[in-house]
């Protein structure tokens, strides 16, 4: 992609939909992810029951979130770890930069973390003189290419392997092929050195378990394990909702998360980390810090969007979304994309034009159908539209008002429809000039007028 990034979903989506290469890549990968999910889901004989149970479990935890987080914090500290509650992105970044400064860190390796994408941690640490290296393969490719994630689970989903080869060639001495194994071997060789040199390891946290003060990292590459065991200090960053109380609850999450995310019955690594290295242990960091990020989430605890906090970040709603499939993650303008991003971005993000995102959906419900915790995303998008309606532009508000005044009365309904034949009658005219006709023919005006008129004339 070239040129300045356009502002607003429509402008970005217009550019993305005109990019046949991007759409081809998205169609291939999302098709594969949807199919694998379906197969893996089929390995469970009670997947619908598990989804219902997961929803009610998440509901219960989120309702009691402050209490659950207290328990988590108490147990992390009992294990010798340190907990920091960050009210916003700035506080989280400042805390981590302080840790880096105190230990004299020159370089940091990062496991995949959307929470730190949300806070812009990399830029912050770079400004503080710390070299930050992404170690998730997709994230590293993007870092090399100066690009950003377009998917919460598969960050480089918008790149073909040819694209990846071209990007990595920038940092390779010899010529690279586009054979995945060779590209991976190249990445491994580069990253291994970074792991061995790093002072600080930074990761996300898929789920924290309050009863033992543990964090769980779900990954496939082993970079999460290296980031948490090689550097002398480990900082994990979690959105405040990413917690369960018990290992039994984690078991339910683990039955659903890898299947929904990547179509795996279980991911290659499920790292369970409880505090820093203890006396007698051979590896693990000297210090463990858990940063629990609010950044607008606690505002959702009361009110119509609370259920969004149930999200376990599997990405299945992105893969299945017919809009995401055409426009890709960058069109959404922030770190979260697809249906979950269209809900979260206007609620959490400080992003110009994010109000438009509630409209970046047909409300088709495919997301709800695959969500492992049954979040009614289409209902939340509709609720966001209602919230935004009073601030819609004057012309749109006036048009809906005029439409309502006309169609609330049978006589004026008939008067406006009798002749029939215009799409503009169904949606108030004048709001969206030419929007239909740019890509689609207009239905021909039916001879004989509206159905009701024909009925009246006895011609039905």
């Amino acid at each position: 992609m070239s040129g300045a990034t356009p502002v607003g979903f429509r402008a970005r989506a217009e550019r993305a939909t005109a990019d046949a290469h991007l759409r081809g890549v998205l169609h291939n990968v999302t098709d594969r992810l949807i199919d694998s999910r379906r197969v893996a889901q089929g390995h469970l004989d009670n997947s619908e029951e598990l989804r219902r149970a997961a929803r009610s479990m998440r509901d219960d935890i989120i309702r009691r979130l402050p209490e659950v987080l207290d328990r988590l914090a108490t147990n992390v500290e009992a294990n010798g770890g340190t907990v920091f509650f960050a009210g916003d992105a700035e506080e989280a970044n400042a805390y981590i930069a302080d840790v880096a400064r105190r230990i004299g860190a020159r370089s940091a390796v990062k496991g995949k973390s959307m929470a730190t994408e949300e806070t812009g941690l990399n830029e912050h640490l770079a400004a503080a003189g710390v070299e930050v290296v992404e170690t998730d393969l997709g994230e590293w490719i993007l870092q090399v290419g100066g690009d950003t994630p377009s998917h919460i689970v598969a960050p480089a989903i918008h790149l073909s392997r040819g694209d990846v080869r071209d990007l990595l060639q920038r940092v390779a001495d010899g010529d690279l092929t586009d054979v995945p194994e060779e590209l991976c071997a190249f990445a491994r060789a580069v990253l291994r050195e970074k792991f061995l040199r790093a002072d600080l390891g930074i990761t996300g946290c898929n789920v924290a378990v309050a009863e033992t003060g543990s964090i769980v990292l779900v990954e496939n590459e082993g970079n999460g394990r290296m980031s948490t065991s090689l550097p002398r200090v480990h900082v994990a960053v979690m959105g405040m909702e990413r917690v369960v109380e018990t290992w039994e609850q984690l078991d339910l999450i683990m039955a659903l998360l890898p299947r929904a995310a990547t179509g795996q019955d279980i991911s290659v690594y499920v790292n369970q980390i409880t505090g820093p290295r203890r006396p007698g242990e051979v590896d693990g960091p000297d210090e463990f810090h858990l940063v629990i990020l609010d950044n607008g989430r606690s505002d959702l605890l009361e009110g119509p969007f609370r259920e969004m906090l149930n999200c376990i970040r599997c990405g299945a709603c992105l893969n299945t979304c017919p809009v995401y499939r055409q426009v890709g993650g960058h069109s959404y303008g922030w770190v979260y994309s697809g249906p979950m991003g269209a809900v979260l971005t206007p609620l959490l993000g400080d992003v110009e034009g994010s109000g438009e995102l509630a409209g970046a959906s047909t409300l088709c419900g495919a997301c709800h159908e695959v969500c492992p915790v049954q979040i009614p995303l289409q209902d939340l998008l509709l609720a966001l539209r209602r919230r935004a309606a009073p601030e819609a532009d004057r012309a749109e508000r006036a048009a809906w008002r005029a439409w309502a005044e006309a169609w609330r009365r049978p006589s004026t309904y008939r008067a406006t429809t009798w002749a029939a034949g215009a799409v503009g009658r169904v949606v108030p005219e004048g709001i969206f000039p030419d929007a239909w006709t740019d890509g689609r023919s207009v239905p021909r005006r039916p001879a004989g007028g509206s159905f009701r008129r024909r009925l009246r004339n006895g011609s039905v």
Binding site: F9, R10, A13, T17, R23, H27, P322, V323, R325, Q326, V327, A358, G359, A360, T362, L363, C364, G365, A366, E369, L382, R385, R386, A388, A389, R397, W400, R401, W403, A404, E405, W407, R408, R409, P410, Y413, T417, A420, A422, V423, V426, V427, F432, A435, W436, D438, G439, R440, S441, V442, P443, P446, G448, G449, S450, F451, R452, R454, L455, S459
Partner: protein, 244 residues
């Protein structure tokens, strides 16, 4: 049965032939069909755009007309308008604080059936002959809000000469989505193209669905692409033409 037909604003204004076909199919099945004079629109266009007050103003008119109709059932030849009535009306009237309307909406919801659902439920499969290779479009509200997946297919299977072809992605949204089609036209058209590319690969001669709004969008895009070999039809038109 005595059936009240809600023609829907789209059929009324843009596809009157679908309304006429619906009436004929229902009559042939032995039903008496009335169209209450005062019905207008279910309010869905405004509801989906987030304008609940405006949606309620219009929906209340149609609600009152349907609630007063002395009928056994209400038939709607559109999955999405059926969804508006059955799934969203009570929430809509609750949101605008009209408790009396919530109660009336519940009784109307109980009697409201989508066209294919009604025929399928009451054993009214009209049968007949229809020589075509058909691809079926599953409309989203019908499929995922109402859970109606196989009803229309069973009716088509009952027609001699009619083959329903498998169409991968037949349950993926076509990109209409109400005002979405006009607020996000580039994405909406890209979604239609995605569907149409798959459709062309099926070898179908006809595209059949139960929601005229999706069909309007897909037909408009097919025509703009110069794909004139595929006829786009509402199920009611197919069943009407097939009738012996």
């Amino acid at each position: 049965m005595r059936i009240a037909l809600l023609p829907t604003c789209v059929v009324d204004t843009v596809a009157p032939q679908v309304g006429a076909a619906t009436v004929r199919v229902l009559r042939r099945a032995g039903h008496e069909v009335v169209v209450p004079d005062a019905v207008t629109c279910c309010g869905q266009p405004a509801w989906n755009a987030g304008f609940a007050e405006e949606a309620a103003l219009v929906a209340r008119t149609t609600l009152d007309a349907l609630a007063e109709a002395d009928v056994d059932a209400i038939c709607v030849p559109a999955g999405s308008c059926t969804t508006m009535i059955r799934v969203f009306w009570q929430e809509l009237f609750h949101l605008v604080g009209d408790d009396a309307a919530v109660a009336r909406a519940a009784t109307v919801a109980d009697r409201t059936l989508e066209f294919a659902e009604l025929l399928d439920r009451f054993g009214d499969a009209p049968g007949g002959r229809y020589d075509a290779a058909v691809a079926r479009h599953h409309s989203c509200h019908m499929l995922r809000e109402l859970g109606l997946r196989d009803e229309a297919g069973r009716l088509l299977d009952g027609l001699e000469g009619c083959t329903v072809l498998p169409w991968p992605g037949d349950d993926r949204c076509c990109g209409f989505g109400g005002t979405f089609a006009m607020k996000q036209p580039e994405t909406s058209v890209a979604m239609a193209d995605d569907k149409i590319d798959g459709l062309l690969a099926t070898g179908a001669t006809e595209l059949v669905g139960c929601d005229q709004s999706c069909l309007l969008h897909l037909a408009g895009r097919l025509e703009r692409r110069g794909e004139t070999a595929i006829r786009v039809r509402h199920l009611a038109e197919v069943l009407d033409e097939a009738a012996p």
